[in-house]
Amino acid sequence: MAARAERARAQVRRIGARVLAGVGVLWGAATLSFLALHATAGDAALATVAGDGANPTQAVLERVRQDYGLDLPLHRQYLNYLGNLLTGDLGESYQQRISVTRAIGEQLGPTVALALSAALLALVLAVTVAVFTAGRRRWVRSTASGVEVVIASFPTFVLGLLLLIVFSFRTGWFPVSGNDGFSALVLPAVTLALPIAAVLGQVLRAELEDVLEQPFILTARTRGMRDTAVRVRHALRHALIQIVTMSGYMIGTLLGGAVITETLFVRRGVGQLMLTAVTTKDIPLVLGVVLFAAAVYVVVNLVVDIVYGLVDPRVVTA
């Protein structure tokens, strides 16, 4: 009883520490973002008034500065900025004249659909290939890992281009671009998923091969369990825990890859939004997307961390 209470307390302490660390990272990101905004805000008032080529009067500039709080002392501006972030206000886009939060919100759906389907596809591919190739004959393993190294070497946009050429322009199986329906999602999702699947597959196979050497696998085999069942029911379960630690890498690749994939396939989404913001020097929008990405990263990692600790109690004591 005492031991269980002790463990629960350790669990809570661990989760608390993780939450604090996550908040710290986001606070740091917000501070850096504020500094970047401030350093480039010399003509922020100008940019807000009318964009390039405008020649507003001094009075108008003063008004805009006042409206945006640019006349306040720096620490007040900083506190205002943090306060706004807490309420989900990421500021105003220079170019689009709408709030950054709304701009991101409008584009979020297609990107989430793309990222989730790519993640799922990558996992399924990696698990399938790893389960069927781990610990097999030499040529099976070296072929699989060779293919994985080659696929992982393809930059996202080259892979996407090849898929476009083969499956859209040559065969006409899938649409070239757009957001409509499932068939428009297939090629972008595959483009995003393949490199991730290749990297996950390598890690997973190494992990599976380690687990397959363990005594409990031998025990399961001596009980007369089939090979496939041993691999799926016993080995895979252990190896999957390891995959969970790759979540950070996956999010990074998915979000970064979304910019490329959405541009290549002319899909609506946060990636497109980001690129447009970069080319139009819309700094609040760029930083807003980056803060959003950092928040996604922190939250997903936090959830993964907590679940990981609950699934595998060794993490807590270690």
Partner: protein, 294 residues
């Protein structure tokens, strides 16, 4: 039963000549690695003296016409304005290598300085620097590079800087961890006991030993730097056309994807093969260095 006798056979008797021979045979160069190395050598030659390999001027318009398929006059065909694609690919090796090597060197230098500062600085310096690194690591590399591009503008050297900037935190974290390991090593303690000054210990013992594992990691990451730089170039943020640069060849070529896909496939494969070759050689280096360390 095989599980039992494998470790026994693997225990090396350091002096036995058979064991040494067996190990040297295992270290024999694999065909894939050799192929990758040959490709990289070709790439370096193309980067240093493209005129030796390129049949034509990469910017000269050919009188034979545009969108030519691969043929005897133009081994890889011509592009939308009739320039020889093969010559452009060969001339594109130099910017690609400069980007990969330059960005990696810059990132390693920056990362080493930060990591060293964090590793030997006080608790406050270390805390601040490593929290900054945590923040940077929470943002995907490409987005970080895009922020830099937004702030400093587009262009060849800015892309190099952006790619380098995005991987500084990665190196900083490794160097710091390494400095912590090395600092507790016996030889550092010995040097300090012998009366060497702090800076001498750092310069002569801590730094070289902390950097050793970095060399191999950096080699592998050159491929990533090339891929990231090409991605930015493809997004239209790097070298503007008509320069012979692989990423921008792709971003121009995509307009003609429906009538001449071959023009796209060539620079795409050039980038991929380069990244692949760097990765294969880098991994081989890692395997060898790990073998030596154990």
């Amino acid at each position: 039963m095989t599980a039992l006798d494998v470790p026994v056979a693997a225990v090396p008797t350091a002096t036995s000549p058979t064991a040494r021979r067996r190990r040297s045979r295992r270290r024999a160069i694999r065909p894939g690695v050799a192929l990758a190395a040959v490709f990289l050598v070709l790439l370096v030659v193309a980067a240093l003296v493209p005129e030796w390999l390129a049949p034509q001027d990469p910017l000269a318009l050919s009188p034979d016409g545009a969108f030519l398929p691969p043929g005897p006059g133009h081994l890889l065909g011509t592009d939308q304005t009739g320039r020889d694609v093969l010559s452009r690919i060969i001339h594109g090796a130099r910017p690609t290598l400069i980007l990969g090597l330059g960005a990696t060197a810059l990132a390693v230098t920056g990362g080493t300085l930060l990591g060293l500062l964090a590793g030997i600085g006080g608790r406050f310096v270390e805390g601040t620097l490593m929290r900054l690194v945590d923040v940077a690591l929470a943002v995907p590399d490409l987005l970080l590079a895009l922020v830099v591009i937004t702030l400093v503008g587009t262009g060849t050297s800015n892309v190099l800087f952006a790619v380098a900037f995005a991987s500084v935190p990665y190196y900083a974290r490794i160097v710091r961890a390494q400095v912590h390991v090395v600092r507790r090593a016996t030889y550092v303690e010995a040097a300090t006991t012998l009366g060497l000054s702090r800076s001498a210990v750092i310069a002569r013992h801590v730094l070289p030993n902390a950097l050793k594992p970095l060399v191999v990691l950096a080699t592998i990451r050159i491929g990533d730097a090339i891929a990231n730089g090409a991605s930015l170039s493809f997004l239209g943020l790097g070298t503007p056309p008509p320069a012979a640069e692989w990423g921008s060849m792709l971003s121009t070529g995509i307009q003609y994807i429906s009538n001449d896909w071959f023009m796209l496939a060539v620079p795409g494969l050039a980038i991929t093969l380069t990244v692949l070759a760097v990765t294969v050689v880098g991994r081989d280096l890692r395997r060898r260095s790990e073998g030596r360390a154990s």
